[in-house]
Structure formats: structure tokens, C-alpha cells
Amino acid sequence: MSEYSVVGQKLPRVDAVEKVTGAAQYGADVHPAGMLYGKIVRSKHAHANILSIDTSEAEKLPGVRAIITQDDVPSGRRVFATDKVLYLGEPLAAVAATDPDIAEEAAELIKIEYEVLPVVQDVIESIKSSAPRLHGDATKDGPNRRDISAKIKKLADQVDSNSDEIRKLETELEKHTDEVYYNISAESHTEAGDVEKGFAESDVVVEDTYFIPRVHQTYMEPHVSVASADSSGKITVWASTQGPFAIRSGIAGTLGIPLTQINVIGTTMGGGFGGRFGVIITHVPAVLLSQKSGRPVRVQMTREEEFLDGRPAPGCVIKLKTGATKDGHILARQALAFWDSGSVSGASIGSTIRVRGVYKIPNIKVDAYGVHTNKSGTAAYRAPGAPQAIFAGESQLDDIAEQIGMDPVKFRLMNMREEGDAVPAGGSEPKVGYKETLEAVADAAGWWDREADENQGWGVAVGDWTNGCGPGGVYVSVHEDGSARIFHGSMDITGTDTAITQIIAEILTIPYENVTIRRGDTDSAPYSTGSGGSVVTFTMGNTAKLAAEDARRRILELASERLNTNEDNLELRDGAVHVITADPPKSISLGELAAYSLSTTGGPIVGKGSFARQPSTPALAAQIAKVEVDPDTGRTRVLKLVASQDVGFAINPMAVEGQIEGGTVQGYAWAMMEEMQYGENGNINPGFVDYRVPTSADLPTVESVIVEVPAPNGPYGAKGVGEPPITPTLATMANAVNDAIGVRITELPIKPEKIVDALKNNGHEA
């Protein structure tokens, strides 16, 4: 039995009724009187010089109220392209009209003259000197050149710059001219131990190159915002966003407007997964159109625009090498990764280090580069960068296990770090349920006595992630009827409002139904970090705890006054304060105390919690899939998909299961079906017909297994839940397919044609 009565329970969510009756207000449901409809004018080429933009025809169309281009951005910050476009769909102008169809017609009437330039879409092509340049030369040295240059620099401090040694190194450097990479947006390098030595001591060394495609978060609600600028200059923005406070500062910074002049109202969010933090995608254009027209304006993307100008997850190419002894000790791992960051920098290249996984690897070296291509920029998608790196890492582990003849689960268990172990290139290991989680999934899936018919196979993989943490504030008030009301400013993301409510009910010892929660806008609510990075339950849960404890202090103070006894003799239980030693029992309810408080010097019961940072603890997701592959058609059917996760403590197990199930299916989709495809002129599959996401028909039930190894600083031990479940699935699926048909697919997604081709290369006759 749990020691708690509200936390740890599967309770219905606080927003249940509004979500099942259509009452919840999402971004596009906001419709202020006099609202105009905005439309963004987009580039029709993936790389081109802009010769002219002519809005005169569009201006004449009846119903058009405002047209804006970069000339209308007083701060000069880039909102629209002016002289050059870098991807298909890049914004060039925007229109506001009285009707959405008129806005669209007007957008079509804006004439743009282009001078088309050569396009580069592939990272491996883009780093070559022959590639078209997106932002000047932007060159960086590859790993060998870096190493040699570092040696030269070190030597130069000791010997004459003309010495033989230095000259030899310089000649060596010359040999690596192909390692001058072009179109580089960023780089990241990490090293611990000596990988060369590690490989030399290894009995088995496996090396492969992994290709992971760019995928879209495909939250079901496309980007939308409604902006209204009044005559005093005050701007109100209804934004579908994960972070209203970040949007407020983003708009202020982009347009040079004081922060206090902007109020952002976060609307119910139709999914985000990391992709809903962008400021200029719809919010800034809506504000500019409203300022120019003097009317509220809604800018809402279509699904097609989402694919062209959303900020999806970066694809990447990872060359990975791993060495191990024949008795199963991993000795060294080295990665070289090229991340496709699109037209701007920002791909999660730092996540390449996740190839180390949760294993003791004494020698590790990671070199990662962000590479420009003619695509939109990228953003976070559920554990940004981790699924890609872990796909490479966990695929390769299975290949090693196979070569040394060891069970893949046992091989992982044997190499997993334990509490106190050094984390390669990063501190020491806290207590995390790595082994517990992997063992739990193996047991639940029936791994140890698994059976497989012909063309069936089992795959396992694990993925780790550590939740973020950020500032937040919560108020809680207790009312005369004994109920409590929470006030805060963080966006609900898959049930976080519910978790906050459960925590406050738990501490105030009142029924869950008697606690209500309300979100403020950025004008009214205390500052709150964005709802992404699995931060909300960790951050806001801690914040809520502090607020409830603060309220409890005041409650006990009031009760001590009222009952004329020392606070030490008092206990808050079942919504009332009891005198512990009283016989006959003596108590006073929260409602009575709240009523009494109104006429006291100290005043009403208001608890305040504010919190910014505590170290968080890694979480592990472990998954097992059983698949059946049809060798003739290449189709893969999932027979079983089991996902376990160390969540620290499940404040609402139903919500936690939902996160595990949803994240796992997104991982499955990345492995098996999703891929943004690019042709000579940009994205070629901007819709659900050509960009297939899974439906209920594609999958069986996902079995989730909750493991609870408490996080020292999490509320009740909870840790971030939302991101980990997507991290291992890509490799889980690839490993299962490999087990079924003996074909290692290193290029995602694992579409049927790839399986058929791979089998053909292996001699299979279709």
C-alpha cells in the first residue's frame, strides 16, 4: 500500500471534461471581434536570390487590410527573407484580410522574382568544397586535422617552428585537405581516455555508418497565434506554445518592444513535443499584421506549411566504431557525426555524446558538426538528439553481442554503470534503475524464454535521458469551503496540471476534487519555465510542494491560535487540523480556518512556492519488440512491444503510462515509416499522404512497465517522464528486424523496400 493518498493514484485529469466535450480552447478557437486572417507568403524555391517583391496587385484585392515585408520590421531583426531565400517555404511577406480565402488569394497575387541558385540537401555533399554555400564559407577542420593542429600547437611551445617534427606534422595536415568541412553551423567535441589504445586492446571492433532522417514532430494542432495590438501599443497574443514567457521575451526582443507591453495568453496546446517554442513562425507575423491593420489577426499554418516551415527534428549521419573484449567488456567507442541543421544553426549536435549510453566505456571520443542545407531550421523533438545517437549506439551493441556470442540483455547488464561509477566524460553516476528497468522489460516481455518462428525476431534497446529544470512559481489559496485553488503560469503538457493538483491535495490532505487549478497569462502569473525537456513535473511539482507547505505553515499557525495550543501538538489530516493528544478528539476544519483567517492580522491562507534549480537524475527507458518480417514484401509486423521506464515515482500512473506508450509509438514511427524527403527544390512530402505517421491500424497494444527508483530531488522522487520513451525505440526495432532476418539496417526508416533490397544482397530470392 502506498503511504500517500492522492499522489501515486490513477486519477482522471483536471481538464477531462473540457477535453472530451470540445470546450477546451486551442489557438485557432480564439476569435476576437473584428479579427482578420493572416497568410504568410512563402518562397517557391529552396535556394534563390530575391530580385523583387511586388505587392501592388495584392493590395488592390477587396478585403485585404495589411501586407507586410521585412521593411515593416522596425528592429531590422530577420522575420522575412529579403535578398536571399535558403529553403522552400521560407517566409517573404504576410497578408491580413477579412476572410481566409481572400488572404490566400492575396498571397498568390504577390509577385516575387527569383534568381534560382544551386541547392544542397545532403550533409555529406554539403561539407564538400564543391557544395553551394549557404552562409559564406563557414569552414571547420575535421577530427584528424584538429588532432594534428593541436599537436602542432603543443609542439610549437616546445620546439622551433621550423623543426622537422613540426614540418612532418604540417605535411600530414596537408594530406587531410578533404577534412576541411564547408557549410558548418556548429561543432562539438568530447573526449575521455584514449580510444586508439582502447581499440588496440579490443578483440572485436565494429564500425558502421548510421543514417537517421529528419522527422517532423507532427503535433496535431498546426502552429497558430492570434495577436491584437491596441491603440496604446499594448499587445495581446493568444499563443499555442509550450512557453508563454519565452514567447513574450522572444517577441519583445525581435520587435524591440518593452516586455511589459506584451501579454501572452497560452491557449490549450495541441501537442508540442519540443517543436512549439518558435517565436517568428506565427507569433511575430501576427503581431506585425495587427500593428499595421489595427485589428486582431490570426495566423494559422496549414499542415503543408508545417512541413515546409515548421522546425522538425534534425536528421544526421553518424559514423560509429566500438571495441570490446571477447568476454564482453566494452573498451572504446568513437563517433563522428554530421547533423543536418538546415538553413540556420541549432541542431542538437551536443547530444552525440549519448552514444556512450549508460555503459562503462573507459575510452570515448565524439566529434560532431552541424551542417547547413537548404531546409528549414530544426528544433527539439522529445529528448532532442538522443534517439538518433542511441539508434547508432544500441544497434552497434547488438552487433558486438552477436559477434562475441552473448545475449544482448546480459551484455548490456554487464556493461551498465552503477552508482558511483565514473560517467565517461562527465561526473559520476547517481543511483538510477538502469539494471532494474532492463530486467523489468525482459521479464515482462518473456525475453528469457522467448520463441520465434521463421522470420520472427526479438530486439532490445535502452535509452537514457535526464530531465531539465527551470524556474517556476505557484500560489495556492485555501477558501472558506475548505477547497484550494492553485494559480500558476506553466502550460499543461500531457497532464502536468493534474500532477500539480495531486501534490497540493496530498499535502493539504483534502480530496483531489476539492482542488482546482488555474493558469494565468504572462501579465498575471508568476514566471514559469517552458513546458519542454520533461521539466514540468519535476520543476512545477517541487514548486507546488513548496507552495502547499507554505500554506500548511499558515494553517497550523491559525489552528494554534484558534485551538489555543502549541503547533507541536497539531496535525493536519483529512482536511482538518487535529490536536494530537486531545481526548475527546478536538479539531478544526480547513474551511473554518480559512473563514477565521479573514479577520486575523496575518490574513488569508496563501501559500507561495518558487523554485529554480536542483540537480536532476537520469532516467532509463528499456524496450523489447517482437516482429515478423515478410521476406517477400519486406513488410514488418510488430507482434509485441513492451516498454519499461524508471520514472522515479509515478505521481499519476495513468498519465505516466500514456507518456510511455505515446513516446514509444513515436520512436516506432521514426524507425519504420517517417522521413521528410527532399528533392531538388525542397521538401517533397508535405502532407499525411506522403509523410505517413502511424495510426491505430499499424500497431498492437503497447505494454508499459513502470519502474520507480526515486530521484533525490524530484517531488516524491519523480523524474522527467515525457522524453525518455522515444530514445530506445529506433534501435529496438532495427535490432528486432536484424534478429528476424539477419539483416542489419543502418539507414532509417526501415521501409519494406530496404528490407527486400538487403535480403536480395544476402541472396534471398523473392
Partner: protein
């Protein structure tokens, strides 16, 4: 490119008189022939519970029930729905009582962000009304026109099966 969410790319033409019965209420409207039923419901009548996820008939977020059949309202022109009986998510609960399907989505945690939920509930209602005896596998295939990006479908299927069971026992 970036085709409109509300029209079929048709040019503006004179408005047509249209009578719709939505959730039992009659609406006599004048609408442009290019407006979809989705646009009429959301923008003209102001019933925003029905969602727009793709505008191309591929996600099911806009599902409503027209004369007993589930349809994606982004693929229907408003004028062609004249004279028809339409039920939207707002019309499902009666006398303050949630419909068993709505209740089942709450009980099982069959929604997260909730954006796909009105469409899923309407699609499920049409399926359950038609035949509540489907197996899980049959429901999985029958709901294949609706996309949910959050739940991974496991809890949605639980909800639909729970509701089907309940409706079987009442009827």
C-alpha cells in the same frame, strides 16, 4: 502551394442559402460555395470543438456525424450539407451527462493534448452505433483514418472497447 484550410481553392462566388441542423438546432445561413462544412461549423456557427489538423481528409480531427455517418468535415462543402442532420462533439453530452464514449476517454486516459479527441470520439461513436461487437483488432482498423500523435493509441482503444461494452449492455 499552401492550399487554403477553408476552401477548395475556388474563387469567391455569390453566397448560397443553406439550412443545416447542427446538434438539434436549425441554422439558416448564407455561405460561399467554396467554404467547407468544417469552416461553416467553426467560423460561421462558432462551434470550434471540431478541429482542423490537416484540411486534406487525412487526419480525422474534423470528424463529425452527418446523417448517422462519420465524415471528415474538411472534405465536404458546406452547401452540400444543406438539409442534413449534423452532430458535433458539442452535441454529444445530453442533460449534463457525458456520453459513455466521452466518459470512457476520461476513465482510461484516452487523450493527452486532446486535439484529436473530438474527431476520435465522433468516429468511435459512429462505429459503436453501427456495430458495438467489433473486436479490438477490428476497431484498430476501423479507426485507421484518425491520427493521434500523443497516446500511441493503446488507451484510445481501451476507451473505445470500454464504451462499446457499456453500450452493448445498455441496449
Amino acid at each position: 502551394m499552401a492550399r487554403s484550410t477553408t476552401s477548395f481553392g475556388l474563387q469567391a462566388t455569390p453566397k448560397h442559402p443553406v439550412s443545416l441542423t447542427v446538434n438539434g438546432d436549425e441554422h439558416d445561413l448564407l455561405i460561399e460555395p467554396r467554404k467547407t462544412l468544417l469552416a461553416v461549423l467553426r467560423d460561421t456557427i462558432g462551434l470550434t470543438g471540431t478541429k482542423e489538423g490537416c484540411s486534406t481528409g487525412d487526419c480525422g480531427a474534423c470528424t463529425v456525424i452527418v446523417d448517422g455517418k462519420a465524415v471528415t468535415s474538411c472534405m465536404v462543402l458546406g452547401v452540400t450539407a444543406s438539409g442534413k442532420e449534423i452532430t458535433t462533439i458539442e452535441g454529444l453530452a445530453s442533460d449534463g451527462e457525458l456520453h459513455p464514449i466521452q466518459q470512457a476517454f476520461i476513465d482510461t486516459g484516452g487523450y493527452q493534448c486532446g486535439f484529436c479527441t473530438p474527431g476520435f470520439i465522433m468516429a468511435s461513436k459512429a462505429l459503436v452505433d453501427e456495430n458495438p461487437d467489433r473486436t479490438e483488432e477490428e476497431f484498430r482498423h476501423a479507426l485507421g483514418g484518425n491520427i493521434c500523435r500523443c497516446t500511441g493509441y493503446t488507451k484510445i482503444l481501451e476507451a473505445v472497447l470500454q464504451a462499446a461494452e457499456e453500450i452493448r449492455t445498455i441496449s
